[in-house]
């Protein structure tokens, strides 16, 4: 960790001239693009998760309905 910190400190600073500004801009654009993509995919996955929850609830409700119907049938038979 100390070695890594020393390496970072020893590394040359980003030149504070025109070049440095553009390089930072280009890399920030790349990161922003990636973040936008991840955010969109995150929203998509949240929608899928919501859908899955709804389907699971529906399946549970169907299962309960079937159990109630089965009990009622058994009572009628007896």
């Amino acid at each position: 960790m100390t070695a890594l910190f020393g390496w970072i400190v020893a590394a040359p600073d980003i030149p504070n001239d025109v070049g440095g500004k553009y390089v930072a801009g280009a890399y920030i654009v790349f990161v922003v693009l990636l973040l936008i993509y991840v955010a969109i995919m995150g929203m998509k996955l949240a929608r899928i998760e919501r859908g899955l929850r709804e389907v699971a609830e529906l399946a549970e409700a169907r299962k309960d309905e079937a159990a109630v119907a089965e009990t009622a049938r058994a009572e009628v038979k007896s």
């Binding site: 980003i14 030149p15 025109v18 070049g19 390089v23 280009a26 693009l33 996955l45 529906l58």
Partner: protein, 240 residues
Amino acid sequence: MYGKGLRPLSIATVVMFAISLSLVFFYAPIEADQGFLQKIFYLHVPLAIVSLCGFVVGGIFAILHLRRDEPRWDAYSYVAIHISVIFAVGGLITGSIWAKGSWGHWWVWNEPTLVSFLIVFLLYATYYPFRYAIEDRQRQARYASVFAIAAGAFVPLNFLAVRMSESLVHPRVFATAGGGLPGSMMLVFLCSIVSMALLWTTLVKFELSAKSAQGQLKRLRRALDAPTGPPTSRIAPEVQ
């Protein structure tokens, strides 16, 4: 199914990016002519190369779709093109920033490399409305595959045409023997290309995995006779 291997791939991508960024800023020498500004090269060129290769890969998947008539190849082709378009946007923007810093202009119209890349990008930008315009899913997939093959063949042809044309402005880093780059720069550049290709693959797998989940959910809803929920995108093919 599509999520298989996504975790190691993601970790490999992050590690490779950390290595290549460290090499870019701490190891690669400062270029004599452009100075620190040349560091954009390690981002812009891999973005452009990987996006162009992605377009060609999309074309290859489209060929497989037409040959085998399996919808999953259409989904592969769609996702490959989709991610490549995003990379191309990144390539265009970073290239523009580099041009502004280097030449003083955001865009130079008499430079074949830039204009040809823009043409390829615009060509693929029409892929979405083209797909969207066709209602029937099977026809949509077939026509989109034909488009992907034709456009995918155009990419290397376009590249060759630009190579053959003379340019005075855009740097030709691979024009001379040995690649025109010193060994240390070439190493960093190759690392950047590998990390960008890994990122592309990870995103393609990620997107396919999400589409697969969406498809499975739809199947579940249908099996349970449940309302299908809000309509999803018509242009994006589903993976079963």
